[in-house]
């Protein structure tokens, strides 16, 4: 079981305080560390961030997803982690990305503010599909613009 591919999608609230530049730099540090770790653990996925929220997709072997998730849960830079989806998958949605990053733009703002406005139960009821589909779409569209992970 620990070898099967799983995907986990969560939404959380940003707890970082600082100027836009300081927070942007901190997010870059988070990405750099996560890409390094994910690469060696065989984790792929995407992170979406705006001033209020994180949404992240993690995919990989169950044991690696569990370890990564536990590390994320212990991170004080966010809170109120709601798991929107956690299930076995047959194929990765972000096979080429250690951690694709979608920063603040109109589309990510629209998704995150919709999700943040919902209670966690409602958000889970979306079955994470909108997060996932939107992330996939944005990453595809902006492929050229995003630094390769």
């Amino acid at each position: 079981m620990s070898q099967t591919l799983h995907r986990l999608v969560y939404l959380s609230r940003n707890e970082m305080i600082g100027t836009t530049e300081e927070i942007a730099a901190e997010v870059q540090r988070i990405l750099a560390v996560s890409r390094r770790r994910n690469f060696s653990a065989g984790i792929t996925g995407a992170l979406m961030f705006n001033a209020g929220c994180f949404a992240q997709v993690l995919e990989g072997r169950l044991a690696a997803v569990s370890d990564t998730f536990e590390r994320i849960q212990r991170d004080p830079r966010h809170s109120d982690v709601s798991v929107l989806e956690f299930e076995p998958i047959s194929a990765r949605s972000f096979p080429d990305w250690s951690m694709a990053y979608v920063g603040q733009n109109d589309r990510s703002d629209a998704i995150l503010s919709t999700l943040a406005g919902l209670g966690s139960i409602d958000a889970a009821a979306l079955r994470a599909s909108s997060v996932l589909e939107n992330l996939e779409q944005i990453v595809r569209d902006e492929d050229a613009l995003i630094a390769v992970g």
Partner: protein, 454 residues
């Protein structure tokens, strides 16, 4: 994490002259093999060795851990405990100590630069971090943490060297955190000690209240709605406390349930209600409230004995339970209710609409009656949604073959409204307040005459 920083407060047996081998032996005897944390005895010794330095003690209780163990098994529970300890370690300072006190109980001892503010900050982080979801063996697991904090100032004359008092105080604060709904922390304050003392006193008073005949039953009339005919009474418990005066169930039943005293008191209620009702000049029913803790297999024999000793026919006794009775162990409770029903006793669902009001509960047992909670009945004239709920429950009762009693009928206007929707029975101040057993016999004789002359 090494405990090397704690050498200064290390229990004396493990420090100083003992050989290394001796130290290891000593340490492993006081350490939990699963988490590697020191245990309760170790904490006692560490507290005793703290001397006069300021100390903060946080007691941490995991909420819903037992449910995880029961549903996912002990291997998952053990992995969960290890992850909880890792998260706790990520929250504390290197000089703080974590101790495993028992299955799902931990303590954190701060003995360096301890302060109330520091302890609060750690408690806030602990409640947050431990309460975040865990991913174990492919299961998403959610638990919570409740925390009680007690601190000891430097040179505090009340507490120096007395670890027991600090533990007791942290425990009272933890009790408060749990009572406040869990998933939070509480800081000890002296009023908690006073309240605990008052609770202990009330418990002692309650232990002898049956013997001293301080409990009495009052009987509130219940009427059929169609004929406005008196059909029976609900027995209501009152405690004539020697110093607090007259107390209602809400003032003491929660403590009786917590201490288990409710079983003995409940037996007295059943015996007394049966004896009293058996002497009524008319064959009225008597309804008795039964607490979830009473619904164990032994109840059936005690009810059967109360019926046979009093001579009350079983069909004149109605046992009222609330939905919460079905939360803990529904199989046992349903079996007990089934055996009571087999005796001929009638079973009513009390306060319907206020608990989780699961329709599954109504289907799980052939109840004889649903009692619609007073909060809906009292508002039904002014609040259309309250009226809609009363109507819906009444219809449900009608369809499922239950009688329905509207409680809290305080105005005559309610009667017309209830009659319009087919409710079968009513109870409330508009129709009759609870009466002492003596005045009730007089009422029954009078009632008998009026019916005879009608």
């Amino acid at each position: 994490m090494s405990h090397g920083l704690l050498v200064d407060i290390e229990p004396s047996g493990a420090a100083g002259g003992a050989s290394d081998a001796g130290k290891i032996g000593e340490a492993s005897r006081h350490h939990d093999p699963l988490t590697g944390l020191p245990d309760r005895r170790w904490l006692h010794q560490a507290l005793a060795n703290c001397g006069a330095v300021p100390v903060a003690l946080l007691l941490v209780d995991l909420d819903r851990f037992k449910a995880v163990n029961d549903t996912l098994g002990h291997p998952v529970g053990d992995q969960l405990l290890c992850k909880v300890v890792e998260r706790m370690r990520s929250v504390i300072r290197t000089s703080d100590l974590i101790v495993r006190l028992g299955g799902d109980e931990f303590a954190i001892l701060q003995h360096t630069d301890a302060s109330i503010e520091g302890a609060r900050a750690i408690a806030t982080r602990l409640v947050d971090l431990v309460g975040r979801a865990y991913l174990i063996d492919g299961h998403l697991v959610n638990i919570g943490a409740s925390v009680g904090i007690a601190t000891r100032e430097a040179g505090d004359p009340a507490g120096e060297g007395d670890g027991d008092q600090l533990l007791r105080r942290a425990d009272l604060a933890l009790y408060r955190a749990k009572a406040a709904g869990r998933g939070c922390y509480r800081l000890f304050s002296t009023d908690m000690e006073q309240e605990a003392q008052a609770r202990r006193q009330l418990e002692m008073d309650m232990r002898r209240a049956v013997a001293l005949r301080q409990f009495v039953l009052e009987y509130q009339p219940q009427f059929t709605l169609a004929g406005r005919r008196l059909r029976g009474f609900e027995a209501l418990l009152r405690w004539n406390h020697p110093t607090h005066g007259r107390m209602e169930p809400n003032d003491f039943i929660p403590l009786a349930e917590e201490t288990g005293l409710v079983v003995g008191i409940g037996d007295w209620v059943i015996r007394t209600a049966c004896q009293t009702a058996a002497q009524w000049p008319a064959p009225m029913t008597v309804a008795v409230n039964v607490s979830p803790a009473q619904l164990a297999p032994g109840l059936v024999d005690r009810v059967a004995t109360a019926l046979s000793r009093s001579g009350l026919p079983a069909n004149r006794l109605e046992i009222e339970i609330t939905e919460t009775a079905l939360f803990g162990n529904p199989e046992t409770v349903l079996a007990v209710l089934g055996r009571l029903k087999a005796l001929g006793v009638r079973i009513a669902m009390d306060d319907f609409g206020t608990g989780c009001s699961s329709l599954g509960h109504l289907r799980s047992f052939p109840f004889d009656r649903i009692k619609i909670d007073r909060s809906f009945v009292m508002d039904m004239i002014t609040n259309p949604s309250a009226a809609a709920i009363v109507r819906a429950v009444t219809m449900l009762g009608h369809t499922l073959g239950f009688e329905t009693t509207a409680e809290g009928v305080e105005e005559f206007a309610h009667l017309a409204a209830l009659a319009g929707i087919g409710c079968t029975d009513v109870q409330g101040f508009a129709l009759g307040r609870p009466l002492a057993a003596d005045s009730l016999t007089a009422l029954l004789l009078e009632n008998d005459c009026s019916e005879a002359s009608a």
